[in-house]
Amino acid sequence: MLIAGENNNKMIRYLGSWILAGLILSGVGLSAQEDMSLIPAGSYTPFIKGITEEVEVEGFLLDKYAVTNADFLEFVKANPDWSPENVKSLFADSGYLTHWPVNYLNDKDLESNMEPVVNVSWFAANAYCKWKGKRLPTLHEWEYAALALPKNDSDSAALTRINSDWYSRKTAVHAKVGSTYENQYGVWDMYGLVWEWVDNFNTVISNEDSRNNEDAPQGLFCGSASLNASDASDYVAFIRFAYRGSLKANYTTRKMGFRCAKTIK
């Protein structure tokens, strides 16, 4: 049997932390953002040392979950330009939403499908976030938020383990959002579910001004730029950065989804 006093104490602490969180959120005018987490300002060292060694990241809001098929279906219904039939190839290649059934408009399963939407281009992801009054997270925002350890886990190797397990998996298992792990900001599945588009995925990573004719992503592939890597043992980050460099904004792949962010005003 629980001792009432202790229970009350817990309750008070629990309520207290929520009230505090509520104060923080309402303090920045965002009390109604239940589907987003506040990522506090801070700094981090990106995998590739380039323009600056430490990057400052301002506080921002990030979707707790990746956008689901159900979410994206709503978007397509409201924005027919982004339907698989109407989308222009300038904005999405021929793989766009190919995992959806032909009769997607009347598909009950899709309406409630909580797996992350994949086979979407950067343009589509960008348009979705705009429609929601949000935006795509920047590369630094995404990487910074993803650095947070799993909730109740202080083992700094936890993320590397999650990543290695994930990348070694041979087949793409599409689980539901919220099925891998929650991080300390309350954000789910940053690793382990799908790759995610970021606003500036094709950012120049080289610090060579614009004089260098060599494209930064190619530099990554040939290994020269990996000399700049802030942590040479971080192969998983290497793969993530290299993969981003191989993308174009109209590409779609069955491993790539997205989530949205929002600037704190």
Binding site: T52, L90, D93, S94, S164, S168, T203, N213
Partner: protein
């Protein structure tokens, strides 16, 4: 770690294989008709002019990219506070123009600025004067979101640095009368001939 490296390359290989196949037979990824055959709004689907964006030129007049429909365009992205790379890019384009003949009279040079904050139409006009750019040169100013979208379409990677400058890839493009990319050239102090050749094919 070996297996991860292997997976990376497998991933890249399968990716590029898919793309090649798609270009060839369009069989691997979908049952949709091939890109080039599709049109929308009287323009090819792959036309840059599908971007429905408003810009302002150096005279402060509103411009849509589709306004350039009908004649070939040489396009690049720059910013006017750029001290080194951009003047060279502009110079490369001037070298192309130097070899123009009568038949090239409708070709336009379109320079779009990365710098949505500092490159106002006034500033662009000043730059056009300093650089002695003729009337067939159009310099465009637009908001950050448009710049980003256009750079994405052109596959130009860029990033604003802390000092306000932009690190960016140096690419020049030739667009046909329909706004499709038919040629791209990367680098600085490039040769004019390949650009001219691409233009001449369109004339």
């Amino acid at each position: 770690m070996k297996s991860i490296t292997f997976l990376l390359f497998a991933l890249i290989l399968s990716f590029s294989a898919c793309k090649e196949q798609a270009a060839e037979k369009n069989s691997c990824c979908s049952t949709k008709p091939a890109m080039a055959q599709k049109t929308s709004g009287g323009m090819p689907e792959t036309s840059l002019y599908q971007l429905n964006q408003q810009w302002k030129n150096q005279n402060g007049e509103p411009v849509q990219l589709s306004d350039f429909k009908g004649s070939p365009v040489v396009m690049t992205m720059i910013f006017t506070h750029c001290e080194y790379a951009c003047p060279m890019m502009v110079n490369d384009l001037k070298m192309v123009e130097d070899q123009f003949t009568e038949k090239h009279q409708n070709v336009k040079f379109v320079l779009i600025s990365f710098d949505h904050e500092r490159d106002t139409p006034d500033r662009l006009l000043e730059y056009a004067k300093t650089q002695q750019l003729g009337e067939n040169w159009v310099l465009l100013h637009g908001h950050a979101g448009k710049v980003k979208e256009l750079a994405m379409v052109l596959d130009i990677s860029y990033e604003q640095l802390e000092n306000g400058a932009f690190a960016h890839a140096n690419k020049k493009f030739v667009l046909n009368a329909q706004g499709e990319l038919v040629f791209s050239q990367e680098g600085l102090q490039t040769k004019a001939e390949p650009v001219l050749k691409a233009l001449n094919k369109l004339l």
